[in-house]
Amino acid sequence: MSDNAEAANSAGRKAPRSKTDLFVSFTLLALQGFGGVLAVVQRELVDKKQWLTLDEFVEDWSVAQILPGPNVVNLALMIGGRTFGLPGALAALAGLLLAPTVLVLLFAAAVAGVADTPVAQGMLRGMGAVSAGLIAAVGIKLMGALKNNPMGRWSCLGVAALTFTAIALLRLPLAWVLLSLGPLASIWAWHCLGQGELA
C-alpha cells in the first residue's frame, strides 16, 4: 500500500521505507523498552521517526488497547500492515519479539539463582518505580492530542476523569470500564461529528 506512504510523505510525515526498516526499527525499539515498551514507542515513533503524529498515535493506541493481546504487539501489526500488508505486519512483529526473546532467555539462564538476592530485588524495585513514571508521563504528553477531539475539551476531560477514578481509585476491572465508558463516549463522539458536519 504505497499510496499510504505517499500520502504520509505529502503531509510532511515520514513512513517506514521497507520491511527491513520495520524489522530493524521495532528491534531497536523493543531493546530500549525495559518494564514495557510504551514510553519508548511514543518517543521513537512520534518524536524521532515521525511515522505518526501525536493524534494518530492516540487513535492507533486506542485501537491497540481495545483489541486483545499485548498493546505494543497490536500497534506493531497495525503500522507494519498499513504500509506493507501482511509481510510488513510480520516484519514488525518479528522485530518486536525476536531479539527480546533471545535476550530474556539468556538473562534468565544467567541470573538463575541470583534473582532472589536483595540487590537484584532492589534493582527491580527501582526500575519498577521509574517505569511507573515513564507510563504516566506518556499519558500526560498524549493529553495534547485531545485538543483536536470532536467531543471538545470538557467532555474529554470528564471522560478521562471518570476512567481514572474507575480504574485507579475504585479498582474496577478493565473490561467493565472499557465496555461501559467506551461505547458511551463513542456514541457521544458520533453525535458531535454529526453536529460538526451540519455546521
Binding site: L93, C156, L174, A189
Partner: protein, 200 residues
C-alpha cells in the same frame, strides 16, 4: 527448587491449547491473563513452582521488550522442568525452547490474527463516521488508563513511611520524561542503581 516432570505429547498439546484459549481474553495486555496462567500451570498441573512463576514476571519486567515476554519465560521454565533443569544440559535446553515456542505461538496467533484483520478493515474504512467516532471516543479513556497504570504501579507499595522514596522517584521520572528529552535508559539505570544500593 526445580520439579522433575515427564511431559507427553498430549501434555504439550494441552499447554498449547491453554495459551491459545487465553489469547483472546488478554484485553489490556497479556499480564491480565497472569492469574489464570498461575491457576493452570502452578495449581492445577504442577508444571511450574510458585517461585518460578513470580520470578518469570519480575525478570520479564526487568528485561527489555514487551511485558508478554513473561509467557516465554514460563514456557522456558516448564520445558526446563521437563528436561531435568539447566544442569541436564542440551536436552533440557531444547525442551525449554520447545516450551517457549509452544506458549508464545499459542498466546500470539489468535490475537494477532484478529488485530491484523480488524485493523486492516478499519484502515480501509477510516473515513467512516463510526470509525472516527470510535477513535475519538476512546482517546480520553486510553489516555486516562495510562495515567492510572502509572498510579497503580506506584500505589502497589503500601507503606508510605517506608516507600515514599519510591513514590518520589516515580514523580520525578514523570516530570523529567514529560519536560525533557533525557534518554529513558539513563532513568532506568538510575532507578536500578538507587535500588541496588538499597536507597529506595
Amino acid at each position: 527448587m526445580n520439579i522433575a516432570l515427564t511431559l507427553t505429547f498430549n501434555d504439550w498439546w494441552s499447554l498449547f491449547l491453554h495459551f491459545i484459549s487465553l489469547s483472546l481474553l488478554a484485553v489490556g495486555g497479556a499480564i491480565t491473563t497472569a492469574p489464570d496462567i498461575h491457576r493452570y500451570l502452578v495449581d492445577e498441573q504442577h508444571w511450574l513452582t510458585d517461585t518460578q512463576f513470580t520470578s518469570s514476571i519480575a525478570l520479564a519486567q526487568g528485561a527489555p521488550g514487551p511485558n508478554v515476554m513473561f509467557v516465554a519465560l514460563m514456557g522456558w521454565n516448564v520445558g526446563l522442568n521437563a528436561g531435568g533443569g539447566l544442569a541436564a544440559g542440551w536436552p533440557a535446553v531444547s525442551l525449554a525452547l520447545l516450551g517457549v515456542v509452544v506458549t508464545m505461538v499459542g498466546i500470539m496467533i489468535p490475537s494477532c490474527t484478529l488485530t491484523f484483520v480488524a485493523t486492516q478493515w478499519a484502515h480501509r474504512n477510516r473515513e467512516l463516521r463510526a470509525v472516527k467516532a470510535f477513535k475519538a471516543g476512546m482517546a480520553p479513556i486510553v489516555i486516562a488508563l495510562l495515567i492510572a497504570t502509572g498510579w497503580l504501579l506506584t500505589g502497589s507499595h503500601e507503606h508510605p513511611a517506608l516507600d515514599w522514596p519510591l513514590w518520589a522517584l516515580t514523580a520525578v521520572t514523570t516530570v523529567v520524561v514529560w519536560k525533557t528529552k533525557t534518554h529513558l535508559l539513563v532513568l532506568l539505570g538510575l532507578g536500578a542503581f538507587l535500588g541496588a544500593m538499597g536507597w529506595i
